[in-house]
């Protein structure tokens, strides 16, 4: 075990030396405050003001807060802007930082990569038509679910534009014996980059409607449909899903937000019989994953935060944990993922995938052996993780115990890895 951890540690150190990894980390570091603000807005917007919000419902906020529509709209406006464009920001910062390491024009390259990212997400089907036929961008891809693509684009454009610029400048100097003007350098590389990405984006629009993101998502979603009752398949699916989150592919397999037929049948059963014992579908992605393996969001990040409180000596980690604990309570964990970052962190990948998997096995066993009933009543998405199972079973204390056990086990799984990262240091973590 210790040997393996050492190996992991060395891998981590090596990966952190890579130029691309450093660029990604730097990009996420710059984007983090924006995402934190967004998450806190979402805490209020989704948790307290939205009709389906947990706190809205338990505190009956709608009945005593005056001007609730106004509040809702104001927060939504903030959320639309920041949340809706986070991927563009990350494309910019990644390209910017990479260009800096190549000593070219960071700001120009950053803007170039943001533009390149946007060209990949232009709604090509709406172009060339008269009248309002919809948005000219695929807005869904510009938010959190576009982060993976934006990182790729940022790295690609950062590298390409820097090299085009340097090559062009060298070639011009050799040929004309004078330096190429700043404008020409930027303009020419912009033309190269944009024609390339427009070609890619246009080509992809022939294949699928929703741009490059949609392609990845569609191929993954086919795996997700009809999961059935097979615990092993649910386990594999959740593990793959969490692995994808770690890559920044947020939410292709929608573990949360599951309103499938099986859940409705379970609810109908519970309503008729008074409880969820012997419900027709005890083992589904919803009754296992949503109830016991999603505290804080994908990867049990609530447990990660507790593990950091217990075992981390990294000031930056502790700071991020304190700042993101409230969004995590409402299962909004994007700031934690991007802030630590968990994304592309080889050490944290292991517990990030393992903790939910272990929880699913625990819940699976407990439900199969009839120690706890499956969750049957719908609960809001923003319900604090450890309460989901308790409320979903209609207040079964055994489910609450199992939730706490799952949380404890996850903390134990995260702890050694968090301790391992104590030795990591240097400028990378000075958030």
């Amino acid at each position: 075990m210790v040997g393996q951890l050492r190996g992991l540690w060395r891998l981590n150190q090596r990966v952190n030396q890579w130029r691309a990894m450093r660029a990604v980390r730097e990009a996420l570091r710059v984007a983090y405050p924006f995402i934190l603000v967004m998450a806190l807005t979402d805490v209020i917007g989704q948790g307290c003001l939205s009709k389906s919000g947990f706190f809205f419902q338990i505190y009956h906020i709608g009945s005593w807060l005056p001007g609730i529509t106004l509040w809702r709209q104001a927060l939504q406006a903030v959320s639309v802007v920041v949340n809706g464009l986070v991927a563009v920001m990350i494309a910019f910062t990644t390209g910017h930082y990479l260009a800096r390491t190549y000593h070219t024009e960071p700001l120009a390259v950053g803007m170039m990569s943001a533009l390149a990212f946007l060209t990949l997400n232009v709604n090509y089907s709406a172009l060339g038509q008269n009248g309002p036929t919809g948005s000219s961008f695929l807005e869904a891809n510009l938010g959190p679910q576009g982060i993976f693509l934006s990182i790729l684009v940022g790295l690609g454009v950062g590298w390409l534009a820097s090299h085009v610029m340097q090559g062009l400048a060298k070639w011009w100097l050799r040929r004309h014996q004078v330096a190429l003007s700043w404008t020409s350098r930027i303009a020419w590389s912009l033309i190269v980059v944009l024609s390339l990405t427009v070609a890619i984006g246009y080509g992809l629009s022939w294949i699928g409607g929703g741009g490059i993101n949609n392609l990845v998502y569609l191929s993954l979603q086919t795996l997700n449909t009809n999961l059935g009752h097979d615990g092993l398949r649910i386990l594999t699916m959740t593990a793959i899903s969490n692995g994808l989150w770690w890559l920044g592919l947020i939410g292709p397999i929608d573990v949360a937000g599951n309103s499938s037929v099986t859940s409705l049948q379970n609810l109908a059963y519970a309503v008729q019989h008074g409880s969820g014992w012997d419900a027709p579908h005890p083992v589904t992605l919803h009754t296992l994953g949503d109830a016991y393996a999603n505290f804080g969001g994908a990867g049990m990040t609530l447990a990660l935060i507790i593990a950091i409180w217990i075992g981390s000596r990294q000031a930056s980690y502790r700071r991020v944990a304190n700042q993101t604990v409230i969004p995590n309570l409402l299962n909004l964990n994007e700031p934690t993922l991007l802030g630590l970052p968990v994304l592309f962190n080889p050490v944290l990948l292991v517990p990030f995938v393992m903790a939910p998997a272990v929880n699913i096995v625990l819940a699976w066993a407990a439900i199969s052996w009839k120690l706890v009933p499956p969750i049957v009543y719908p609960v809001p998405r923003t319900t604090p993780g450890p309460l989901v199972a308790y409320l979903g079973t209609g207040g079964d204390w055994r489910a609450l115990l199992l939730s706490l056990l799952c949380l404890g086990v996850s903390v134990v799984i995260y702890l050694p890895f968090v301790r391992l990262l104590n030795d990591a240091g240097g400028v990378d973590h000075a958030a």
Partner: protein, 296 residues
């Protein structure tokens, strides 16, 4: 140390502030789910008029089956004077909209008989609910059958409060018996008006009258059917009166009248009829769903 103590207290308070209200919320939600829950099974209970047997609606049902192309199964219940129930037919598995015809051994006309028949209907109804576990249903009553259903709704349905009636259609029901008078109230009408506040508030009622001439369908005076408004209007959610004229509008022909079959399909069974068959009255707006939380 002192700081730690405060911190733990704060954590405890936050946990309680979330946990306790969520308890109340939970209780409230569960009762809400229970009261909103509708069984897939939603039968239509049919009660024939006086002197008619449980086979009174056979022609109607054959017509309905032919036209709707959905095989509504039929269960017939005959209630003896002793209260003993005899079942014929069955509700087929998977048929969520069956017809249940309830008829009585004592099917004579008259105030006291109708009251007894309502009581027998209640007997049969309770047995049906116990056997088939439905919690919402609709009703069709022909002639005095409409009176029996009305008395049943006022007097007995409250005993099975979890079963909710949705729609009632009465065909040529003489709310004021044979009386043609618009001022004199017979005993049954007086009783119905007295108990009207106990009618289910969410019920939708259609009263269909047929007329051969300007005043009667040959048996029941149009004025007597019209008196139904004093029972239902402003008591139930919607009360609609419809008068059908033309062929087959004598009292006993009404249940197999083509127009009335269309009315039954459109209003009672809530079928989506093709445009040519639709009886265009007002379009009723569907009740918007309450704002449900999405499943997690």
């Amino acid at each position: 140390m002192r700081r730690n103590w405060w911190r733990w207290l704060l954590v405890l308070l936050v946990v309680l502030a979330i946990f306790l209200p969520s308890q109340f919320w939970l209780k409230q939600r569960i009762t809400q789910y229970k009261s909103n829950y509708k069984t897939p099974l939603s039968p239509t209970i049919m009660v024939p008029g006086s002197s008619a047997s449980q086979n009174r609606f056979d022609t109607l049902i054959t017509q309905l089956r032919k036209e709707t192309k959905s095989a509504h199964s039929v269960l017939k219940v005959r209630v003896a004077e002793s209260g003993q129930l005899t079942y014929t037919g069955s509700i087929k598995r998977g048929d969520n909209h069956p017809f249940i015809v309830v008829a009585f051994e004592n099917n004579r006309d008259g105030y006291s008989n109708i009251n007894k028949q309502a009581q027998w209907l209640d007997l049969a109804f309770k047995d049906l609910v116990k056997t088939y576990h439905f919690n919402h249903f609709s009703m069709l009553g022909h002639s005095n059958g409409g009176l029996i259903l009305s008395v049943f709704l006022e007097k007995y349905l409250t005993q099975t409060a979890h079963v909710k009636p949705e729609r009632l259609m009465t065909i040529a029901t003489p709310y004021n018996m044979e009386s043609d008078s618009t001022t004199k109230q017979t005993a049954i009408l007086r009783e119905l008006i007295k108990g009207r506040s106990r009618l289910p508030k969410k019920l939708t009622v259609y009263s269909v009258a047929g007329t051969e001439n300007y005043s009667s369908d040959g048996t029941v005076p149009a004025n007597s059917v019209n008196q139904g408004k004093y029972v239902f209007q402003n008591q139930v959610a919607h009360y609609t009166q419809i008068t059908v004229t033309g062929d087959d509008t004598t009292h006993s022909d009404l249940p197999q009248n083509k127009q009335i079959i269309l009315l039954i399909r459109q209003y009672l069974l809530q079928e989506v009829l093709p445009d040519k068959d639709r009886v265009s009255v007002i379009k009723r707006s569907q009740h918007a769903d309450t704002d449900e939380t999405g499943l997690p």
